[in-house]
Amino acid sequence: MGDTIDLKADSVLDVKGLCCPMPVVKAKKAIGTIEVGQVLEIIGTDAGSKGDMPAWAKRAGHEFLGMTEEEGSEVFHFFVKRGK
Protein backbone atom coordinates (compact mmCIF):
# COMPACT_ATOMS: atom_id res chain seq x y z
CA MET A 1 0.00 0.00 0.00
CA GLY A 2 1.20 3.51 -0.67
CA ASP A 3 1.35 6.07 -3.38
CA THR A 4 2.84 3.73 -5.94
CA ILE A 5 -0.53 2.31 -6.96
CA ASP A 6 -1.56 3.55 -10.36
CA LEU A 7 -4.95 2.11 -11.05
CA LYS A 8 -7.60 3.03 -13.54
CA ALA A 9 -11.10 2.74 -12.19
CA ASP A 10 -14.10 1.97 -14.35
CA SER A 11 -16.43 3.54 -11.83
CA VAL A 12 -16.01 5.89 -8.87
CA LEU A 13 -18.06 5.92 -5.67
CA ASP A 14 -17.86 8.93 -3.37
CA VAL A 15 -18.66 8.13 0.27
CA LYS A 16 -16.81 11.03 1.84
CA GLY A 17 -18.38 12.04 5.16
CA LEU A 18 -20.07 8.68 5.69
CA CYS A 19 -19.05 6.18 8.32
CA CYS A 20 -19.65 2.52 9.06
CA PRO A 21 -21.79 0.83 7.82
CA MET A 22 -22.58 3.11 4.87
CA PRO A 23 -19.34 2.90 2.83
CA VAL A 24 -19.66 -0.89 2.66
CA VAL A 25 -23.42 -0.79 2.04
CA LYS A 26 -22.92 1.65 -0.84
CA ALA A 27 -19.88 -0.20 -2.20
CA LYS A 28 -21.94 -3.38 -2.41
CA LYS A 29 -24.57 -1.56 -4.50
CA ALA A 30 -22.00 0.20 -6.68
CA ILE A 31 -20.01 -2.92 -7.53
CA GLY A 32 -23.21 -4.49 -8.83
CA THR A 33 -23.34 -1.81 -11.52
CA ILE A 34 -19.97 -2.67 -13.10
CA GLU A 35 -18.92 -5.80 -15.00
CA VAL A 36 -16.92 -8.67 -13.54
CA GLY A 37 -13.23 -7.79 -13.91
CA GLN A 38 -13.85 -4.05 -13.83
CA VAL A 39 -12.50 -1.85 -11.04
CA LEU A 40 -14.48 0.27 -8.57
CA GLU A 41 -12.74 3.16 -6.85
CA ILE A 42 -14.24 4.13 -3.50
CA ILE A 43 -13.30 7.54 -2.13
CA GLY A 44 -14.01 8.05 1.54
CA THR A 45 -12.99 9.68 4.80
CA ASP A 46 -13.89 6.91 7.27
CA ALA A 47 -10.68 5.60 8.83
CA GLY A 48 -12.48 2.37 9.69
CA SER A 49 -12.84 1.69 5.98
CA LYS A 50 -9.11 0.86 5.86
CA GLY A 51 -10.01 -2.40 7.56
CA ASP A 52 -13.59 -2.70 6.34
CA MET A 53 -12.99 -2.46 2.59
CA PRO A 54 -10.49 -5.36 2.33
CA ALA A 55 -12.71 -7.45 4.62
CA TRP A 56 -15.82 -6.68 2.59
CA ALA A 57 -14.07 -7.40 -0.71
CA LYS A 58 -12.70 -10.72 0.53
CA ARG A 59 -16.01 -11.91 1.95
CA ALA A 60 -18.09 -10.75 -1.01
CA GLY A 61 -15.81 -12.47 -3.54
CA HIS A 62 -14.04 -9.42 -4.98
CA GLU A 63 -10.36 -8.57 -5.22
CA PHE A 64 -9.01 -5.74 -3.07
CA LEU A 65 -6.31 -4.14 -5.21
CA GLY A 66 -5.09 -1.59 -2.69
CA MET A 67 -5.57 1.88 -1.35
CA THR A 68 -3.97 5.28 -1.46
CA GLU A 69 -4.22 8.10 1.00
CA GLU A 70 -4.15 11.75 0.02
CA GLU A 71 -1.37 13.21 2.09
CA GLY A 72 -2.59 15.26 5.03
CA SER A 73 -6.22 15.22 3.90
CA GLU A 74 -7.56 12.02 5.48
CA VAL A 75 -9.14 11.07 2.18
CA PHE A 76 -8.75 7.44 1.20
CA HIS A 77 -9.04 5.82 -2.22
CA PHE A 78 -9.84 2.11 -2.30
CA PHE A 79 -9.64 -0.01 -5.45
CA VAL A 80 -11.70 -3.17 -5.73
CA LYS A 81 -11.99 -5.44 -8.75
CA ARG A 82 -15.38 -7.10 -9.15
CA GLY A 83 -14.84 -10.85 -8.79
CA LYS A 84 -18.31 -12.29 -9.31
Binding site: G17, M22, V24, V25, K28, R59, A60
Partner: protein, 155 residues
Protein backbone atom coordinates in the same frame (compact mmCIF):
# COMPACT_ATOMS: atom_id res chain seq x y z
CA UNK B 1 -25.92 -22.46 3.30
CA UNK B 2 -23.90 -19.26 2.84
CA UNK B 3 -22.16 -17.73 5.83
CA UNK B 4 -24.84 -16.27 7.99
CA UNK B 5 -25.45 -14.05 10.98
CA UNK B 6 -28.13 -14.58 13.62
CA UNK B 7 -28.79 -11.71 16.04
CA UNK B 8 -31.07 -11.32 19.05
CA UNK B 9 -32.13 -7.73 19.80
CA UNK B 10 -33.59 -7.31 23.29
CA UNK B 11 -33.33 -3.53 23.80
CA UNK B 12 -35.74 -0.90 22.56
CA UNK B 13 -33.67 2.22 23.11
CA UNK B 14 -32.27 4.40 20.33
CA UNK B 15 -28.63 3.66 21.13
CA UNK B 16 -29.16 -0.08 21.33
CA UNK B 17 -31.11 -0.23 18.07
CA UNK B 18 -27.94 0.56 16.13
CA UNK B 19 -25.60 -2.39 16.76
CA UNK B 20 -27.93 -5.13 15.48
CA UNK B 21 -29.07 -3.07 12.48
CA UNK B 22 -25.54 -2.02 11.51
CA UNK B 23 -24.15 -5.53 11.76
CA UNK B 24 -27.04 -7.08 9.84
CA UNK B 25 -26.95 -4.49 7.05
CA UNK B 26 -23.18 -4.98 6.77
CA UNK B 27 -23.54 -8.76 6.71
CA UNK B 28 -25.87 -8.75 3.71
CA UNK B 29 -23.57 -6.25 1.99
CA UNK B 30 -20.84 -8.90 2.41
CA UNK B 31 -23.09 -11.48 0.78
CA UNK B 32 -23.83 -13.19 4.08
CA UNK B 33 -27.36 -14.08 5.10
CA UNK B 34 -28.67 -12.32 8.19
CA UNK B 35 -31.64 -12.39 10.53
CA UNK B 36 -32.57 -10.41 13.62
CA UNK B 37 -34.92 -11.82 16.26
CA UNK B 38 -36.61 -8.90 18.02
CA UNK B 39 -37.61 -9.93 21.50
CA UNK B 40 -38.74 -8.14 24.69
CA UNK B 41 -38.18 -4.38 24.33
CA UNK B 42 -36.36 -5.02 21.07
CA UNK B 43 -39.80 -5.34 19.47
CA UNK B 44 -40.04 -1.51 19.67
CA UNK B 45 -37.59 -1.35 16.76
CA UNK B 46 -40.30 -2.92 14.57
CA UNK B 47 -43.24 -1.07 16.15
CA UNK B 48 -44.80 1.34 13.62
CA UNK B 49 -45.65 3.86 16.31
CA UNK B 50 -42.27 3.75 18.04
CA UNK B 51 -39.49 2.83 15.62
CA UNK B 52 -38.92 6.36 14.37
CA UNK B 53 -38.95 7.84 17.88
CA UNK B 54 -36.85 5.54 20.03
CA UNK B 55 -35.43 7.15 23.16
CA UNK B 56 -32.22 7.08 25.17
CA UNK B 57 -32.49 6.28 28.89
CA UNK B 58 -30.54 8.75 31.05
CA UNK B 59 -31.26 6.72 34.21
CA UNK B 60 -28.74 4.11 35.30
CA UNK B 61 -26.64 4.91 32.25
CA UNK B 62 -23.21 6.00 33.51
CA UNK B 63 -21.66 5.37 30.08
CA UNK B 64 -23.27 8.40 28.48
CA UNK B 65 -20.80 10.98 27.08
CA UNK B 66 -22.03 13.41 29.73
CA UNK B 67 -23.09 11.10 32.57
CA UNK B 68 -26.28 12.19 34.29
CA UNK B 69 -26.61 11.44 38.02
CA UNK B 70 -29.63 9.21 38.56
CA UNK B 71 -31.38 11.78 40.72
CA UNK B 72 -31.12 14.25 37.83
CA UNK B 73 -31.99 11.62 35.23
CA UNK B 74 -35.29 11.07 37.00
CA UNK B 75 -36.39 14.67 36.41
CA UNK B 76 -39.05 15.03 33.69
CA UNK B 77 -37.51 16.06 30.39
CA UNK B 78 -34.18 14.32 30.93
CA UNK B 79 -35.05 11.43 28.63
CA UNK B 80 -35.86 13.92 25.88
CA UNK B 81 -32.58 15.72 26.53
CA UNK B 82 -30.51 12.53 26.46
CA UNK B 83 -32.30 11.46 23.28
CA UNK B 84 -31.62 14.79 21.61
CA UNK B 85 -27.93 14.55 22.53
CA UNK B 86 -27.73 11.10 20.99
CA UNK B 87 -29.57 12.23 17.85
CA UNK B 88 -27.14 15.15 17.47
CA UNK B 89 -24.19 12.76 17.75
CA UNK B 90 -25.77 10.44 15.18
CA UNK B 91 -26.28 13.36 12.82
CA UNK B 92 -22.70 14.54 13.29
CA UNK B 93 -21.32 11.31 11.86
CA UNK B 94 -24.03 11.10 9.16
CA UNK B 95 -25.38 7.82 10.47
CA UNK B 96 -28.64 6.69 8.89
CA UNK B 97 -31.75 6.93 11.07
CA UNK B 98 -33.29 3.75 12.49
CA UNK B 99 -36.03 3.73 9.80
CA UNK B 100 -33.36 4.20 7.10
CA UNK B 101 -31.25 1.36 8.51
CA UNK B 102 -34.30 -0.91 8.68
CA UNK B 103 -34.99 -0.14 5.03
CA UNK B 104 -31.38 -0.96 4.11
CA UNK B 105 -31.66 -4.24 6.04
CA UNK B 106 -34.95 -5.12 4.38
CA UNK B 107 -33.68 -4.27 0.90
CA UNK B 108 -30.62 -6.41 1.49
CA UNK B 109 -32.73 -9.38 2.55
CA UNK B 110 -32.21 -9.34 6.33
CA UNK B 111 -35.01 -11.31 7.93
CA UNK B 112 -36.67 -9.14 10.59
CA UNK B 113 -38.33 -11.60 12.93
CA UNK B 114 -40.67 -10.44 15.70
CA UNK B 115 -40.79 -12.72 18.75
CA UNK B 116 -44.25 -14.26 19.12
CA UNK B 117 -44.40 -14.48 22.95
CA UNK B 118 -43.24 -10.85 23.17
CA UNK B 119 -46.13 -9.83 20.95
CA UNK B 120 -48.56 -11.84 23.07
CA UNK B 121 -47.19 -10.39 26.29
CA UNK B 122 -47.26 -6.78 25.11
CA UNK B 123 -50.51 -7.06 23.18
CA UNK B 124 -48.86 -6.19 19.88
CA UNK B 125 -50.68 -7.28 16.71
CA UNK B 126 -48.96 -7.99 13.37
CA UNK B 127 -50.54 -4.84 11.91
CA UNK B 128 -48.82 -2.79 14.66
CA UNK B 129 -45.46 -3.65 13.12
CA UNK B 130 -43.74 -2.12 10.09
CA UNK B 131 -44.59 -3.99 6.87
CA UNK B 132 -40.94 -5.06 6.47
CA UNK B 133 -41.29 -7.34 9.52
CA UNK B 134 -41.65 -11.05 8.85
CA UNK B 135 -44.39 -13.11 10.49
CA UNK B 136 -43.58 -13.65 14.18
CA UNK B 137 -41.64 -16.73 15.21
CA UNK B 138 -40.80 -18.52 18.45
CA UNK B 139 -37.61 -19.70 20.09
CA UNK B 140 -37.42 -23.01 18.23
CA UNK B 141 -37.63 -21.38 14.81
CA UNK B 142 -34.95 -18.87 15.78
CA UNK B 143 -32.68 -21.58 17.16
CA UNK B 144 -33.11 -23.67 14.05
CA UNK B 145 -31.78 -20.74 11.99
CA UNK B 146 -29.09 -19.86 14.56
CA UNK B 147 -27.84 -23.44 14.71
CA UNK B 148 -26.91 -23.14 11.03
CA UNK B 149 -25.43 -19.66 11.37
CA UNK B 150 -21.71 -19.00 11.43
CA UNK B 151 -22.02 -15.93 13.67
CA UNK B 152 -24.53 -15.43 16.46
CA UNK B 153 -24.82 -12.28 18.56
CA UNK B 154 -27.13 -10.93 21.23
CA UNK B 155 -27.74 -7.31 22.18
Amino acid sequence: MADSLAIIATKGTLDMAYPPLILASTAVSMDMEAAIFFTLYGINILDKKKFANLKVAPLANPAMPMPVPNIVGAIPGMTAMATKMMKDMIKKISWPTVPELLEICHEGGVKLWPCQPTMDMMGIRPEDLIPEAEPAIGAAAYLEYASQASVTLAF
